[in-house]
């Protein structure tokens, strides 16, 4: 007899020689620390404080194995501009790009990964700065370039121009195109994290002359994301609401990063949404 493993159901102990059905949930994460910390793991001072989605699913949904494919993301315009080919000079020049390797910056896996769901975040579009190559036109995110060796800094200055930060309308138009392209490949659900605009310690009373502060920018993007969801049917992981419900003071380390409890609450919301979308009952039988 083959034991049944269903979400929330009892797990029958397999008899010797029985075939165990394990359902595999494949998720593709395109984003940065907000996704990685909450869904993969959170390490603080070398200690794993939160063990991510895998542990959560193991605890709550017997027999589901979660496989996360994570790529860092620089910005929506860079993803649309990339064609999967790394510019030759980047392959020849070992730049200290940190987590933003050329492979991830020019990857097309977002559009072709065979997964059960894709999870994105608006954080790259609210936060990241990009450079455009003066002659070849490709976009590059240089992580902490002031820490690069002087020769690489000089090359960066001589070869690239900074491009402006993304406005909400441009970001949402880009995300819509990304969603369309992804859906040409598969109908796997797409989830997008919004951001919490709560900045510990921020105390602004009058906003005159402060049109582009972080909290206001995030509020604009969160609203844009709601409208995008209404147009396209993507699901929002409402990090903003989760934090306001439980208290950002107790869940945030700083303006961007969550502590273990914050990560857990966000991961729980991801599980809830994946379950609502049928991903947990439809996961592939291995």
């Amino acid at each position: 007899m083959i034991p049944a493993y269903w979400p929330g159901g009892a797990v029958a102990k397999p008899s010797r020689g029985a075939v165990i059905r394990v359902r595999r949930l494949n998720l593709f994460l395109k984003g940065n620390l907000d996704l990685r910390d909450s869904l993969h793991s959170l390490r603080l001072n070398g200690t794993v404080c939160w063990n991510g989605l895998g542990g959560l699913l193991r605890d709550r949904f017997s027999g589901i194995h979660c496989r996360l494919l994570h790529e860092t993301w620089t910005r929506s315009d860079a993803l649309l501009a990339a064609d999967g080919t790394i510019p030759v000079e980047l392959t020849q020049r070992p730049l200290p790009l940190g987590a933003y390797s050329p492979a991830s910056q020019f990857s097309q896996a977002m559009f072709t990964a065979p997964v059960d769901a894709v999870i994105l975040s608006i954080q790259p579009d609210t936060m990241s700065n990009l450079l455009r190559h003066r002659t070849q036109g490709y976009l590059l995110h240089a992580d902490n370039p002031w820490e690069w060796p002087q020769a690489e800094q000089d090359w960066l200055r001589a070869s690239f121009d900074p491009i402006p930060r993304l406005e909400v309308a441009d970001s949402m138009a880009n995300l819509e195109r990304i969603i369309e392209r992804r859906r040409q490949f598969s109908d796997a659900p797409i989830l997008i994290y919004n951001q919490s605009p709560v900045v510990p310690g921020e105390a602004i009373d009058c906003h005159m002359g402060l049109e582009n502060i972080f909290s206001t920018r995030v509020r604009r993007f969160n609203l844009g994301l709601i409208e995008l969801s209404q147009r396209t049917g993507v699901s929002i992981i409402d990090v903003d609401s989760i934090l306001s419900r439980h208290g950002a003071e107790s869940l945030k380390i700083d303006a961007l990063h969550l502590n273990a409890d914050g990560c857990r609450r966000v991961a729980e919301e991801v599980v809830r949404v994946l379950d609502d979308l049928g991903c947990l009952s439809d996961a592939q039988v291995a």
Partner: protein
């Protein structure tokens, strides 16, 4: 001992029950000023100012407002839920501009706490909740836009309450509950001290009061310990005015 002038505050009220919140805010302000005054050295000593406040509603003539500060709350805009958003935005912009001209004092606009409770199916269910959540976010962003187009001050109740959390405070956008009222009142008190009283409170007293209040960090500290600023008690009839809705 130098005498202070009277602090005049006009407070827009949408629902009768909101009086408790703003009354608590005024009392926290009074308590803070009294405590700060007693902590001043003999040379700096000033008596804490009287606080005169009146409640008014949307229907009242702005010409009848006292010269002084005005506090508005976006709850009024939320209450008119069926109005198209662009109409709400235009109306608010117009009325706030008129107010800034009508009153000789700072205008404060309180944001809405973004947490929305679940609705029963009869009340509109999840669709209603999502609609309300979107409208709150749009209104809060509008508050920021209004601040940099008209120069009004924001009392960001949303920011304070989101720091503390709807769950721990047992509250939502309507700001029910004792702890939420205390935290919101503390936030209003802090905003008035930070930006509304320079013309009427002597500098030494104001500085001391601001330090005593401690801004957002002070609110968080008090909230953790359940020790919000103590009101000064029932208001003295002298210098008080209670009129309006």
């Amino acid at each position: 001992m130098e005498m202070s002038a009277t602090i005049a505050i006009n407070i827009q009220i949408v629902r009768g029950r909101d009086r408790a919140l703003f009354f608590a805010a005024v009392e926290q302000l009074r308590g803070c000023l009294v405590a700060a005054s007693s902590a001043l050295s003999q040379e700096q000593k000033v008596s804490p100012p009287n606080i005169a406040y009146r409640f008014f509603s949307d229907n009242d003539d702005t010409a009848e407002l006292m010269p002084g500060a005005v506090i508005l709350w976006l709850f009024a805009a939320l209450a008119q839920g069926n109005e198209p958003f662009h109409t709400t935005a235009a109306r608010l912009h117009e009325s706030i501009q008129a107010l800034t001209l009508a009153v000789n004092g700072p205008v404060f606009l309180c944001t809405l706490f973004r947490h929305v409770p679940p609705f029963s199916e009869a009340e509109g269910g999840e669709a209603r909740r999502l609609w309300l959540r979107q409208r709150i976010r749009r209104l809060n962003l509008l508050a920021t836009d209004l601040s940099y187009s008209t120069g009004i001050n924001i009392i960001d109740l949303d920011r304070t309450l989101a720091h503390l959390g709807a769950g721990p405070l047992q509250t939502d956008v309507r700001l029910g509950g004792e702890r939420a009222t205390a935290a919101a009142a503390d936030t209003i008190c802090g905003a008035l001290l930070a930006a509304g009283l320079d013309d009427v409170v002597p500098e030494a007293l104001l500085n001391r009061s601001q330090k005593l209040h401690g801004g957002l960090a002070g609110i968080m500290h008090r909230a953790e310990r359940g020790q919000f600023l103590r009101p000064a008690g029932r208001p003295n009839a002298d210098g008080e005015e209670h009129v309006g809705a």
